[in-house]
């Protein structure tokens, strides 16, 4: 007769979370389909268009606005695609079922995906800042960068919840396409890259990226004035996070 199997100590449970996150990170880092569009493309596009900005006759305010838009764009991709799409794919492949059968600490799988999505969002945003710095076109000081980045990352949690909800409700084949249906219009219709005409501007508040940028711009004093109530922006982002996050978790618990 063997002894009773020992319980996991707190440090072992913590280590299991860390190891899960470590290999989730490595897995993403080694997946070109994730790294190229979400980690490299935003900085590449900024460099391409930023050169025009650097050599064109653009006002400092416009340069700040432009950089901020690219940073939100960079952070939005990993957040929106980094949890739900891999979950949908791994559910189709049987990996998600295997993880549920194994004695992994509760939540380790999702926490790892969430943490890694946020880490990639931060890295993607950092690559844009670094690109701007080395292109000699950095219109923000260090404090502004830190505050702007922190607020943006906090805001992208809402996109993580939205992406998760899409992922748990669709197959691995459908999830990337469905996420794109939200991602692409959101990038343009949130007014990240250019001031929107009045007709579109009234619809911009339906997109989370609009609120993320508005909050980050104000908090980092990148722009002195905004046109949307920041308290309302916070409430909308929190509501998106709570609603889509709880719907996704409910579905996961019920149907696996």
């Amino acid at each position: 007769m063997r002894d009773v199997i020992p319980a996991m100590s707190a440090s072992q449970v913590f280590r299991a979370y860390l190891v899960e996150a470590k290999y989730e990170f490595l897995h993403r880092l080694r997946t070109p389909m994730f790294v190229i569009p979400f980690l490299l493309l935003p900085a590449g596009l900024y460099l391409l268009i930023g050169l025009l900005v650097a050599h064109g006759h653009v006002e400092p305010t416009a340069a700040r606005f432009f950089l901020a838009g690219f940073c939100v764009f960079a952070a939005a991709g990993p957040a929106l695609f980094g949890i739900g799409c891999p979950l949908a794919l791994e559910r189709d492949s049987g990996l998600f079922t295997l993880k549920r059968a194994l004695p992994a600490p509760k939540g380790a799988y999702l926490v790892a995906k969430g943490v890694v999505a946020i880490v990639f969002a931060t890295l993607a945003m950092a690559t844009v800042f670094v690109t701007a710095r080395f292109a000699g076109n950095m219109p923000l000081d260090t404090t502004q960068v830190i505050v702007f980045a922190t607020v943006t990352i906090a805001g992208t949690v809402s996109l993580c919840a939205l992406g998760l909800w899409i992922g748990v409700n669709s197959s691995g084949a459908a999830a990337p396409g469905l996420t794109q249906l939200i991602y692409m219009p959101m990038l343009y219709l949130s007014g990240l890259f250019f001031p929107l005409p009045k007709t579109l501007l009234s619809w911009a508040p339906i997109w989370p990226a609009f609120h993320i940028e508005q909050l980050a711009l104000r908090a980092g004093h990148v722009l002195q004035s905004g046109f949307f109530d920041p308290k309302l922006s916070i409430a909308i982002l929190v509501a998106i996070t709570m609603v889509f996050g709880s719907l996704a978790m409910r579905r996961l618990v019920r149907a696996g």
Binding site: V4, A16, Y23, L95, A101, P105, K106
Partner: protein, 305 residues
């Protein structure tokens, strides 16, 4: 003291148990009052045709689905409790592990879920996967992937292993290696639940066989007990009697020949042997044996259909 009580309690209880379990998916009845237990230090082979309820039973034991009725226990607890699964290793039929991770990384990740896992080098040595350790999972052949999945199943030092079609895609040498490891695990006190379509695998490994059909347990016992459920026997001999004539004899179910020897399946083997000896005085190399597990399985599941 509490640990000791717990140990005693677990010693008495079966390692895993389904008691009068019912499960339905929409209008399809997957399990209809199934009762089945896994005892300590035994290899239980769960056999059955497609749709018999094997996968549903395993999914219930692993806490992946909930029963509509009856009780499910894993190591004396609900399988939904992560503590109950800490003593369990799993090898599933379909498990698309992360292709970008290396084998040793996958083992380290899975081992992190267990309180007292085997060291990495021991897992690699035990499962003969040393040569694969640095390779990315996505670059492995189908058989090598099964070997790695087996390594993941055993890395946590589980006392109960669920193996679902473990040797599909393995070459003969790798299959025999896996059989050898499984035998050693059972001999050292572990339990294994094996589902397989290779009946020779069940025959080679199982201490006990459970045959499921239409969500019910239709037979359970040792391989010999299951084989003896079927009255038919197999006769092998070298004879000059024409096969067409043998096939016409009453109680002969089937007869085949490779040109040198004849194999006869009969419901009354003694009667057939008497008749063979009467018509062929030069009959040689006579062997009579009980039906194999595959014949027993076919007959049991046909009766249950």
């Amino acid at each position: 003291m509490r640990d000791s009580d717990q140990a005693q309690r677990e010693d008495v209880l079966a390692l895993a148990e389904l008691r009068d379990v019912h499960k339905r998916f929409g209008t399809t009845v997957a399990l209809a009052g199934l009762s089945l237990e896994v005892r300590r230090a035994e290899l239980l082979a769960v056999l059955g045709p497609n749709g018999a309820g094997k996968s549903t039973a395993i999914a219930l034991w692993l806490g992946l689905i909930q029963p509509d009725g009856g009780t499910v226990q894993l190591r004396g607890r609900s399988p939904l409790e992560v503590e109950s699964r800490r003593g369990v290793g799993v090898m599933m039929q379909e498990a698309g592990l992360n292709p970008e991770l290396r084998v040793r990384e996958l083992i380290e990740l899975t081992a992190s879920y267990y309180p007292a896992p085997l060291p990495l080098k021991d897992v690699l040595a035990l499962t003969r996967t040393d040569a694969l350790a640095a390779r990315r999972y996505g670059k492995l052949s189908g058989g090598q992937k099964r070997q790695v999945q087996f390594a993941l199943a055993v890395c946590g030092r589980p006392e109960l292993l669920f193996l679902d079609e473990p040797t599909v895609g393995l070459d003969i040498q790798a299959r025999e290696t896996m059989w050898h490891i499984v035998r050693d695990l059972v001999a050292s006190g572990n339990s294994v639940v094996l589902t397989t379509h290779y009946l020779e695998e069940a025959q080679a490994l199982a201490d006990r066989v459970a045959v499921l059909a239409r969500g019910r347990l239709i037979a359970s016992g040792t391989v010999d007990e299951i084989r003896s459920v079927v009255g038919r026997k197999q006769i092998r001999c070298s004879t000059s009697v024409e096969i067409a004539e043998v096939r016409r004899w009453p109680s002969v179910i089937d007869a085949t020949t490779d040109g040198r020897r004849m194999d006869i399946t009969a419901s009354d083997a003694e009667e057939v042997v008497r008749r063979l000896l009467a018509v062929d005085l030069h009959l040689r190399d006579l062997e009579i044996r009980h039906a194999g597990l595959s014949e027993a399985f076919a007959e049991l599941t046909r009766e249950a259909a």
